[in-house]
């Protein structure tokens, strides 16, 4: 049953007492700035408002209610302990502009978080200020640009990006003023090294890589990639989206990366989805340290302090009014402290084990793997090209049928180079029983499609809404309530 909009529930004159602001005219505004008509606000009772939003929340798929194997997004469990400690009154009530001498506890946490992130990535310095993964990318590539310009090298106008990359990579490069050169993927799933040799040269500012790649494969020739790029005078950017697979096992710094962004909301389990708040903390090796965005936390004579542009003149500057999402950073800090060094390695152990277990079971159940000869990292790609042709079981049909069986769908149609693909990432926090139920549901959908191909095209049938018209939604978006 569809839920009406809160506006449609409204009746003139009803109000939610607890939400009504203190009465009082805006006396200090000039008359021409005052509106002459009443704003169209929903008029519902407090109880109606509570019920409306509670019903909506119950219709959500979420990590707290369902298995959520959304590839490349690392939808893992958010431990409640992180929440508990981040909600301590001392943290909650600290004003972002509070002086350093009364913020030493918070600053100590942020300083230690920077240090732990350096240790687990092999970088020499970290800034926690980017507010999301895309902003982390932006600051990373802006630093690459600043580095080359600082040396007077103005000829480096190109960034190399693999064809399997996240869409944000080429977007970031273009936003920073670079031209994008796309690198093909070789048949075995690794980067095409010959193409890399042809494209790398005096115009190369850097390369943006995700390792393991978005195909869930570890780039085995990463040292060759490093030698080619550094040999050409470029820098290596590490997109931290898939860090979960190698956490504590391999350091991006050891692979030769010069700059990295980490989605703390993925690997370090801060709440995720719905557009934020996120954190795209950015780390650098020595060469890029002078360009790190400010502020970050340093140690002075009187304890911890903010390092700002005055101390760090070559910085690419500020990215936000304050220094990132404090609550998110605290949750990541507590998560890391709870795990410890050995715990981080176990994250990678179980993320990889779970992915390979599900991959092997799905292959045995009749699904085709995009790279059957390769071991998966934390995620893997299934292609439904054969099933789509034979039974009409496309990636979108399978995704919708999974909803009916109580599972959030995996990522569909990404990476773009694999037709009819699903990108499946179980994460380390799921039990074997949950993984088995997921495989059973997938096998059940496949069996159903073979017997009755029309069924999967009708899915979902148990959700509050049936198949949505995505094409019409994109072509003619209807985003505003009109009475």
């Amino acid at each position: 049953m569809s839920e009406p909009l809160v506006f449609e529930l409204g009746r003139s004159g009803r109000l939610a007492g607890a939400q009504v602001p203190e009465a009082g005219a805006a006396v200090d505004l000039p008359p021409e700035m005052l509106r002459d008509s009443r704003p169209q606000l929903p008029e519902v009772s407090e109880l109606d408002a509570v019920r409306h939003y509670t019903r909506l929340s119950q219709r959500n798929f979420s990590i707290d209610t369902q298995f959520y194997p959304l590839g490349s997004c690392t939808m893992k469990y958010n431990p409640r302990g992180c929440n508990t400690y981040a909600m301590l009154p001392g943290f909650l009530q600290r004003h972002p502009l509070a002086p350093e001498d009364v913020s030493q506890g918070f600053l100590a946490c942020m300083y230690e978080l920077q240090r732990m992130l350096c240790r687990v990535t092999g970088m020499t310095a970290f800034s926690l200020t980017p507010m999301a993964g895309a902003q982390g990318e932006l600051s990373g590539v802006a630093m690459i640009r600043a580095y080359h310009l600082d040396r007077g090298d103005t000829e480096r106008t190109e960034i190399l990006v693999p064809d399997a990359a996240h869409g944000t990579n080429p977007a970031t490069a273009v936003k920073c003023g670079f031209a994008v050169r796309e690198l093909p993927t070789a048949a075995d799933g690794d980067l095409d090294i010959d193409a890399l040799r042809r494209l790398a040269g005096p115009r190369t500012a850097g390369i943006m890589l995700t390792n393991p790649s978005t195909l869930g494969l570890f780039e085995r020739r990463i040292q060759e990639v490093r030698d080619i790029i550094h040999g050409a005078g470029g820098l290596l950017y590490y997109d931290g989206a898939n860090l979960n697979a190698i956490l504590g096992k391999v350091l991006p710094g050891d692979m030769g990366f010069d700059v990295i962004h980490i989605n703390l909301h993925k690997t370090f389990s801060t709440p995720h989805g719905g557009g934020g708040p996120g954190s795209g903390a950015v780390g650098v090796g020595e060469r890029l340290e002078p360009f790190l965005p400010t502020p970050f936390v340093g140690i002075g004579a009187d304890g911890y302090r903010w390092v700002d542009a005055a101390d760090h003149p070559k910085s690419i500057g500020r990215l936000s009014a304050f220094m990132g999402n404090a609550g998110v950073l605290l949750r990541a800090y507590i998560y890391m402290r709870m795990l410890g060094r050995r715990g981080m390695e176990r994250v990678a152990d179980y993320a990889v084990l779970n992915a390979n277990y599900v991959m092997a079971r799905l292959a045995a159940a009749g699904f085709d793997l995009a790279y059957p000869e390769r071991r998966a990292c934390h995620e893997f790609v299934v292609t439904l090209k054969r099933q789509a042709r034979e039974h009409g079981l496309t990636a979108i049909n399978l995704a919708k049928a999974l909803l009916d069986r109580g599972f959030h769908a995996p990522t569909t149609y990404f990476p773009l180079l694999v037709p009819e693909c699903l990108l499946i990432e179980p994460t380390e926090t799921e039990s074997k029983e949950t993984l088995d139920r997921f495989v059973d549901a997938m096998a059940d959908i496949l069996a159903e499609a073979q017997v009755d191909p029309e069924r999967c095209k009708q899915a979902p049938v148990t959700m509050p809404v049936r198949r949505l018209d995505e094409v019409r939604a994109a072509r003619k978006p209807d985003l505003r309530y009109r009475p």
Partner: protein, 131 residues
């Protein structure tokens, strides 16, 4: 099997190009490409009078599944773009070789078109992909 008209030239990236009598050439995406992308929701067209090299990204076709670059089949200058696609991107799905054309260009060297794939060669490209 997708439609591959005999009188057009093709690229491995699924663009088609057609010479016209006035020396310009019309470019679009193939029936296979529109089928693979699914229903288009947005088409970004190149700037008028822009000079492009072979392989330059000069348009973007976006469906609910994916956004995909369109590369210039040959070097030249953009002479006209299909403004009807701003309002009706679905023309590319309905009629990829006709009303769904993307842009018209003046090739720098008309001989470059001879280097491209003919219908049989493009059909082989599709067959290889299907293996």
């Amino acid at each position: 099997m997708s439609d591959i008209p005999e009188n057009l030239k093709y690229t491995r990236d699924h663009e088609w190009i057609a010479e016209t009598d006035d020396g310009t050439a019309v470019v679009g995406i193939t029936d296979h490409a529109q089928e693979a992308l699914g229903d288009l929701v947005f088409v970004e067209l190149p700037e008028m009078h822009r000079d492009v090299e072979t392989g330059d990204v000069c348009a973007v076709v976006e469906s609910v599944k994916a956004a995909s670059d369109v590369y210039s089949p040959v070097a030249g200058n953009i002479a006209e773009v299909n403004l009807a696609l701003d309002e009706s991107p679905e023309l590319v799905n309905a009629d990829p070789y006709g009303e769904g054309w993307l842009f018209r260009m003046t090739p720098a060297s008309p001989a470059d078109l001879e280097e491209l794939l003919d219908a049989q060669a493009y059909e082989r490209v599709l067959a290889e992909m299907d293996d």
